[in-house]
């Protein structure tokens, strides 16, 4: 019962919060699916944050499973369930669907999507069997932190010991794993593997729902297939790292931003709040989430929804982002020791790195080489980048500008980290660039499949 409540109560709360923020969803299956994916992601973050706090303050895993906590979670589940039920009964007719009704997708294409999903699931199983404890970062800090949360007796000095790798990294993934271990016994290896599978599923379903809601079923099929066509994604998911969760949350944030740009004022504010909420969850997942939050804040302030003043748009975004962004910043400021990149940075050497043109060339070359690495991406990154040249652009120019701005700013932010890094540049690029591109790749795919029109070389029919 405890285990069920531990996951059910935060998930119901997540679904209720998303339903309350987006009450005027169109009545489509894609709209409901997008809300559900966002709600489950928020629920996972709530599971992680609540249990990380409980484990730190309870002192032992036995007291972390106390009856008082069960009573609290029961009350949350009951309230969230009731709110969802009331919201369902009161649900208005909803705004009209955003995407034009698309003809039924052929069975062959649906079969292709199912085949790709099954093959990816099988890859995850095969790779997990070959790496029962995940890859390097998983046992060195993501899953280690979960173990220390569970076994550390609430001693922050042990849980976030400076003798371990990256004690300042945020707790979404370790918190979820620790919760799983709290209720299934200390240390079953399938718990983090199930977590990895969950986030990969949320990314894939999120892509399908986002593309379907923005551009219809055909875009959804293409989006999912392009996503799964890059081998790097399933590979990194099987490593049990935090990059796939970050990618899923960033994709959701950008999708809600794009939806906000299509909506009248009231709906736009709620969707900007959901955008802020999702990107703040990314900041509770990886340090890059903070940069992503800043990038989206700049994009929202630069390209707000039509008819909504910049200040109000930014305020709505900030309101959604505030709870988890505050949690992430509070964690960094109080519990988590300093970040290694900042701790090793001396002002003099910083200036010499910024003014070294060789670093810029090296970074540009590595970005280019990684994008063309067929074993990781099957040339799908260059293909997605070429999409604007292949297709005549479709959709609202404001949306296209917004996602273009987000992509460019994210690229600059990530490249900037490499310019400033005190670590050996070549080593830093080779050990992290293939993972950082995973955060951006789903956005590239979404842009390629949603804002595309007719192929450029296919002539328009006469009279069109």
């Amino acid at each position: 019962m405890s285990a069920l409540l531990a996951f059910l109560a935060p998930t119901l709360l997540g679904l209720a919060v998303v339903a309350a923020l987006d009450p005027a969803a169109d009545g489509t299956r894609a709209g409901r699916l997008l809300r559900a994916v966002t709600g489950v992601a928020l629920g996972a973050a709530l599971v992680s944050a609540s249990h990380a706090a409980i484990l730190l303050f309870a002192g032992s895993s036995a007291s972390a499973r106390s009856t008082a906590k069960d009573l609290g979670f029961s009350a949350v589940a009951a309230l969230a369930g009731a709110a969802l039920w009331r919201g369902r009964r009161r649900a208005p007719g909803g705004s009209p669907p955003l995407a034009p009704p698309s003809p039924r997708v052929p069975a062959a294409a649906l079969g292709a999507v199912a085949l790709a999903c099954l093959a990816t699931a099988a890859i995850l199983v095969v790779r997990t069997r070959a790496m029962p404890d995940g890859e390097w970062d998983a046992y060195a800090f993501w899953n280690l932190r979960a173990r220390l949360l569970l076994r550390g007796g609430g001693d922050a000095g042990v849980v976030f010991s400076g003798e371990t790798f990256h004690p300042d990294y945020p707790l979404l993934v370790p918190g979820l794993t620790a919760t799983g271990w709290l209720y299934t016994g200390d240390g079953p290896r399938w718990v983090p593997a199930v977590g990895a599978f969950l986030w990969m599923s949320l990314l894939v379903v999120g892509m399908g729902a986002a593309a379907a809601r923005l551009a219809g079923a055909r875009a959804a099929c293409l989006g999912v297939l392009l996503l799964l066509g890059a081998p790097n994604l399933a590979k990194v998911a099987s490593w049990q790292y935090a990059d796939v969760p970050t990618a899923a949350l960033l994709l959701l944030a950008v999708t809600w931003y794009a939806l906000a740009l299509r909506e009248p004022r009231a709906g736009a504010r709620a969707r900007l709040a959901l955008c802020g909420l999702c990107v703040s969850l990314a900041s509770w997942t990886k340090n890059e989430g903070l940069a992503q939050a800043l990038v989206l804040a700049i994009a929202v302030a630069t390209i707000p929804p039509a008819g909504l003043p910049r200040g109000k748009a930014l305020l709505a975004f900030a309101a959604g982002a505030a709870p988890f962004l505050a949690l992430s910043i509070a964690f960094k400021a109080s519990i988590g020791p300093g970040n290694d990149l900042l701790a090793q940075a001396a002002p003099g050497s910083l200036l010499s790195r910024v003014t070294d043109p060789g670093r810029y060339l090296q970074i540009a070359r590595s970005f280019g080489e990684e994008a063309f690495r067929t074993s990781a991406w099957n040339l799908l990154i260059p293909l997605a980048l070429l999409a604007p040249a292949l297709w005549t652009p479709a959709g609202l120019p404001r949306e296209r500008r917004a996602i273009g701005t987000v992509l460019v700013l994210l690229g600059l932010a990530y490249a900037g980290v490499y310019v400033l890094t005190p670590k050996p540049l070549v080593w830093h690029l080779s050990s992290s660039l293939h993972r950082l591109l995973i955060h951006v790749y789903p956005l590239l795919v979404l842009a390629a499949v949603v804002w595309r029109g007719r192929l450029r070389w296919v002539p328009r029919p006469r009279g069109a």
Partner: protein, 135 residues
Amino acid sequence: MSRDPASARRWSWFSVAALVLAALPVRELVRELGRGREAVTPLDVAFAPLVAALPPVGPIGWVGDGPSRHEVSTARARLQFAAAPRILAAGTEGRAVVVAWTSDEERLGRLLHAHGLRVLARFDRGYALCAPEGP
């Protein structure tokens, strides 16, 4: 559902493209299956004898030497995962028990000498449980 010929042609092309894209993860799966990876022993199982020999609480000293920093870090991270909540603290100062890891015997001799350690027990994969040499 009836479709005009142009639309039907477009959908046929779309289905073909979808099947080509679906072949990419299928090809990756076939590659994975063909790799024939060796079964990896889980870290908890691999380190069970060494972890059982460690004191239940308190930081444990750590020293290591190998051909690269990465190999030493990997050896430390693997044991740290299995030994949690005990923390492996770099160095030997003030530690009653120290774990040493080296990639070969020659390095172990040098490491023990440099840190004034004596071996209490040897374990698989280059690990040794040590204590500071007496006065």
